[in-house]
């Protein structure tokens, strides 16, 4: 299934910048960065649970915001993009 992850990490302190790097790093392992703080991850239920667990360990729930949107498997036609692109879809063929 496709899971959309969005986050706001409070970077007013140095520790925030560190959390931001770590959250992004975990997300990169599971999906595609489509915007600065938005990742699309193609995961099964086990991977989703693991990723959620990892991210919840990284954020400070008193300062940061983390959201998950489950888009299911039939997400074609539900997503529209305009403007500059960053990254490729996880399940998109890479044509070289």
């Amino acid at each position: 299934m496709l899971v959309l992850i969005t986050y706001d990490i409070n970077i007013t302190e140095a520790a925030g910048a560190r959390r931001l790097r770590r959250v992004a790093k975990q997300c990169v392992n599971y999906g595609t960065r489509v915007q600065n703080s938005v990742f699309e991850c193609q995961v099964d239920a086990t991977q989703y649970a693991r990723l959620k667990h990892l991210l919840l360990k990284e954020i400070d729930e008193e300062k940061d915001s983390l959201r998950f949107y489950s888009l299911g498997n039939r997400y074609n036609g539900k997503v529209e993009h305009f403007g500059v692109r960053r990254g490729l879809k996880v399940d998109e063929p890479l044509i070289l």
Copy 2:
């Protein structure tokens, strides 16, 4: 239906900061800011088309990124939030 709007506006120039303010302002008119660059909008098809049109007029497609995710009407259970909250759901009762 619930539409999720996410954007990255390139603010390396003053014109970018202006676009960012205008995009946020349009989104505020249609929904709730759940994170800095993430809005949830409860719209019908006509409102969705209008909002999309307005936002596409504001962004610079050479520099900015704008994404729409249609979550439909049955989105309960599809969205999970952790950490600090910003705003209320559009269809959530406001208890004072």
